[in-house]
Symmetry: C2
Subunit: 160 residues, 2 copies
């Protein structure tokens, strides 16, 4: 077996949030794959998620609508690429559901979970096509935003 295609990590193109959290992989997985749960943590407060649709299989939809504190809607429509329960979820906005190429591709997200003690080593990678895409995402506040959302995810997972 050759290494996973996700071994093609490139620090000049990718952004990574990696942390060990004290909730089990099955709870992190549930938070990432259940629309009613996504709506509770996926946007950094005071932003909210007003809609979420997940068709959890390759080619299926991963769609959210975020709301700014002013109520403006920011829809995102993507396509799920890989589903390995409690281990790996990959989706991209470079494709729409049904694998159709999208008009404005930005990044692929890979969420990778491994058990660590009673908790989870959580690795979220944002994969871009060029250094400009990576820089734009970093300037948008990738590390702070994804970090706040992970805090929210963990707080929610503890209640499950």
């Amino acid at each position: 077996m050759t290494p996973s295609p996700l071994a093609l990590y490139d620090p000049t193109l990718d952004l990574v949030l990696e942390r060990v959290v004290d909730v089990a992989p099955r709870l992190v997985w549930a938070a990432w794959t259940t629309p009613e749960l996504i709506m509770k943590w996926f946007a950094p407060a005071p932003w909210t998620v007003s809609e979420c649709e997940i068709d959890l299989r390759p080619g299926g939809a991963f769609r959210t609508v975020m709301r700014s504190p002013e109520g403006d809607a920011y829809p995102n429509s993507g396509c799920i690429l890989e589903v390995v329960p409690e281990q790996r979820l990959v989706f991209t906005d470079a494709l729409l559901p049904g694998f159709r190429p999208a008009a404005e591709p930005f990044f692929t997200a890979a969420v990778m979970l491994t058990p660590e003690g009673a908790g989870t080593r959580y690795v979220a990678r944002a994969i871009h096509s060029d250094p400009a895409g990576r820089a734009k995402h970093e300037a948008m506040g990738f590390h702070e935003g994804w970090g706040i959302c992970l805090d929210q995810l963990v707080a929610l997972a503890r209640t499950l």
Copy 2:
């Protein structure tokens, strides 16, 4: 079970070549997934294929280099999305191997095989992001080119 995401066929965005051929699905599948075989049928003669790399799993490479009769090289690098042996192969140039968004996305290809008698119902769909992409692909000679290549594939498969 909801319908396959590939049920999202849109005749205003997609091009389709559908034909019943007199070789079994397992031979068509072999011709599509074995680099040494791809090199014998994937370009319409007198064009040729000088290189082919296939890493047959989601996220893996589907890469070819075509050569014009004058010897000019036309490389294509794509990413495999779905592998259902002898039934369905999906790949796209909207992503590079490892699911990285590509700089110049054009189309996703879905090859769908179903047994029909001793032969195969062969459906090859090219999935575009907009009508302009579909029109460009049609003007490039999609139907003639993919038809000639299928003739070449069938002639090769009969020898396997």
